[in-house]
C-alpha cells in the first residue's frame, strides 16, 4: 500500500489531473450532438466510477476488519466511505448540471443510472448516524463493518432493479460498437479516470494520515495532562492503531 509517499502521490495526482483536463479541452473533439457541455462527462463519469469503486473498497476493508479485528481496516473502510460520499455529492451536482444542459431538467426520474446512484448515496449517508449512535468502540467498528458489507452487496442489486424498471436512455458509450467514443475521447477519458482515481487515493491517504496524527496528538496531550495515566480513546472517530505510521 505504501509504494508512494504522500507528497509524491499528491504530485502525481495534480500532474495526471492537469494532463487529463488539458486533453479534455485542447485535444478531445467537441461532441457532435451536445457540443461543449459534453466535456462535463470527463469529470462526472470518473467521479461516479471512483465513488462506487470506493464503496466496494470499503466493503473489502470491512470484511478484512471482521476477519482480523484489526482496527486499521475499520479506519480504512470508514475513510473510504467518507471520501466516496464526498465524491457522491460531486457526482450528483455534476450530473444535475449535465442533465439541465442536455435534457433541460435538473433531475430526471426515468434515468436509471441517476436514480440508482441517488439511492446508493442515501443508503451510505446513513452510515454516520448508525456508526455514531453506538457507544461501545469495538461494537461500533464491528457494526459499521457489517453495514459496509451489507451495503456493498446492495449496490449491484440496486442497479439491476432500477435499470430493469426503466427505459434505457443513458448513452451506452462503452458497450455499443457503433455508438462508442472516438479514440481521442477515449484517451482523454482514461487519463481523467486515472487522475480522479489518484485523487481518491490521495484524499483517503490524507484523511488517514490526519486521523492518525490527531489521535496521536490527543494521546500525547492526555498523557502529558494526566502524568502516565492510560489514554482514553475518542468516542466518535474510528480508533487508530497505536503503532500506525502517519503517511
Amino acid at each position: 500500500m505504501r509504494v508512494l509517499s504522500l507528497k509524491a502521490l499528491s504530485a502525481a495526482t495534480v500532474a495526471t489531473l492537469a494532463a487529463g483536463f488539458a486533453l479534455v479541452f485542447f485535444y478531445a473533439p467537441n461532441d457532435a450532438d451536445q457540443g461543449f457541455i459534453q466535456k462535463i462527462f470527463y469529470l462526472h463519469v470518473p467521479l461516479a466510477i471512483c465513488a462506487l469503486a470506493g464503496f466496494v473498497v470499503a466493503a473489502v476493508h470491512a470484511i478484512r476488519h471482521l476477519r482480523s479485528h484489526d482496527p486499521v481496516h475499520d479506519l480504512r473502510a470508514y475513510v473510504s466511505i467518507h471520501v466516496s460520499i464526498i465524491f457522491g455529492v460531486a457526482v450528483l451536482l455534476t450530473g444535475s448540471i449535465w442533465a439541465r444542459a442536455s435534457w433541460g431538467k435538473w433531475w430526471v426520474w426515468d434515468e436509471p443510472t441517476l436514480v440508482s446512484f441517488l439511492i446508493v448515496f442515501l443508503l451510505y449517508c446513513t452510515y454516520y448516524p448508525l456508526r455514531y449512535s453506538i457507544e461501545d468502540r469495538d461494537r461500533q467498528a464491528r457494526y459499521a463493518s457489517v453495514f459496509a458489507i451489507t451495503a456493498g452487496a446492495f449496490v449491484p442489486l440496486n442497479f439491476l432493479a432500477v435499470r430493469l424498471s426503466q427505459s434505457l436512455v443513458h448513452p451506452r458509450v462503452f458497450a455499443t460498437a457503433d455508438g462508442g467514443m472516438p479514440p481521442k475521447m477515449w484517451l482523454a477519458f482514461c487519463v481523467c479516470l486515472a487522475g480522479i482515481a489518484l485523487l481518491w487515493v490521495t484524499l483517503v491517504r490524507f484523511e488517514i494520515a490526519a486521523k492518525t496524527a490527531s489521535a496521536r496528538l490527543a494521546r500525547l496531550r492526555r498523557a502529558l495532562a494526566a502524568g502516565s495515566a492510560p489514554p482514553a480513546p475518542s468516542r466518535v472517530a474510528p480508533s487508530v492503531p497505536t503503532g500506525a505510521r502517519s503517511s
Partner: protein
C-alpha cells in the same frame, strides 16, 4: 435447528400472549389505506397506483414490526444468553427472520382482503398477489432482521431502523411493485413481465439471506 425452533416458538408465544406487533401493524395498514383513500381522492385503484399503495403500506407496516423485533432480546439479556448458550448465534437471526415472515404473512392475509374491499373491483388478483408478497416478505425479513439487530443496540434505535432500512428495501419495492402492477391491471390480472420481477425478488432474497447469515455472528459477539 433446535435452538431455531425454540426461539421461534418463544417469539410466537410472546406475540400471541401480548399481541404487540401484528395488531399494531394491521391497524397502521388500515389507517394508511384510509389516508390514501383521501390523499389520492379515488375510490378505486388499478395498475401501478394500486401496487404502489399496497406495497408502500406493507413496507411501512413492516418497519413497525422490524423496529420491535429485538427489543425483548436487548432488554432482557437475550443477546448475552445466545452468546453463553452452546448454539450457533445465527439461529437467533434465522428465528427472528422467520417470525417476521409469519407476522407479515398474517398481516397480509388480513390486509389484502381489506385492500380489495377498499380499492379493487374484484378479488381475482389476490391469489397471485399473495405469492408476490410472500417473496417480498422473505427479502423484507432477511434485511429487516439484520438491520433490527444492528439498531437494537444503538442509542438512536427508533430512528435508525427506518433510516437504514428504507434505502435497502428500494429494490424490493421496485420489484414487488413491478410484479404487482400487471396483476392489478384494470381489466383483470395479466401475467406479462411478472417473471422478470419475481426473479429479481428471488435474487434479492438469496443475497440478503446469505449476507445476514454471514454477518450476524459479528453483531452478537462482544
Amino acid at each position: 435447528m433446535d435452538a431455531f425452533r425454540a426461539i421461534l416458538g418463544k417469539d410466537l408465544r410472546v406475540e400471541l400472549r401480548t399481541l404487540e406487533s401484528v395488531p399494531a401493524m394491521l391497524l397502521f395498514a388500515v389507517a394508511t389505506f384510509v389516508l390514501f383513500r383521501y390523499g389520492l381522492d379515488r375510490t378505486s385503484l388499478a395498475g401501478g397506483l394500486a401496487a404502489g399503495v399496497l406495497l408502500a403500506t406493507i413496507l411501512f407496516a413492516a418497519v413497525l414490526g422490524i423496529g420491535r423485533l429485538f427489543v425483548a432480546e436487548r432488554d432482557d439479556g437475550g443477546f448475552d444468553a445466545i452468546r453463553l448458550a452452546p448454539v450457533d448465534p445465527t439461529a437467533l437471526w434465522a428465528a427472528k427472520a422467520a417470525a417476521l415472515v409469519i407476522y407479515l404473512a398474517v398481516l397480509e392475509a388480513l390486509a389484502l382482503p381489506l385492500f380489495a374491499i377498499f380499492f379493487l373491483d374484484g378479488a381475482a388478483a389476490l391469489p397471485p398477489l399473495a405469492g408476490v408478497l410472500l417473496l417480498a416478505d422473505a427479502g423484507l425479513a432477511a434485511t429487516g432482521a439484520t438491520v433490527s439487530a444492528m439498531a437494537a443496540r444503538s442509542r438512536a434505535r427508533d430512528l435508525l431502523v427506518p433510516l437504514v432500512l428504507l434505502p435497502l428495501l428500494v429494490p424490493v419495492m421496485i420489484a414487488a411493485a413491478g410484479a404487482a402492477e400487471p396483476l392489478l391491471a384494470a381489466g383483470g390480472p395479466s401475467y406479462s413481465g411478472v417473471g422478470k420481477w419475481l426473479a429479481v425478488l428471488g435474487l434479492y432474497d438469496l443475497t440478503f439471506i446469505a449476507v445476514g447469515w454471514a454477518v450476524f455472528d459479528f453483531l452478537v459477539e462482544d
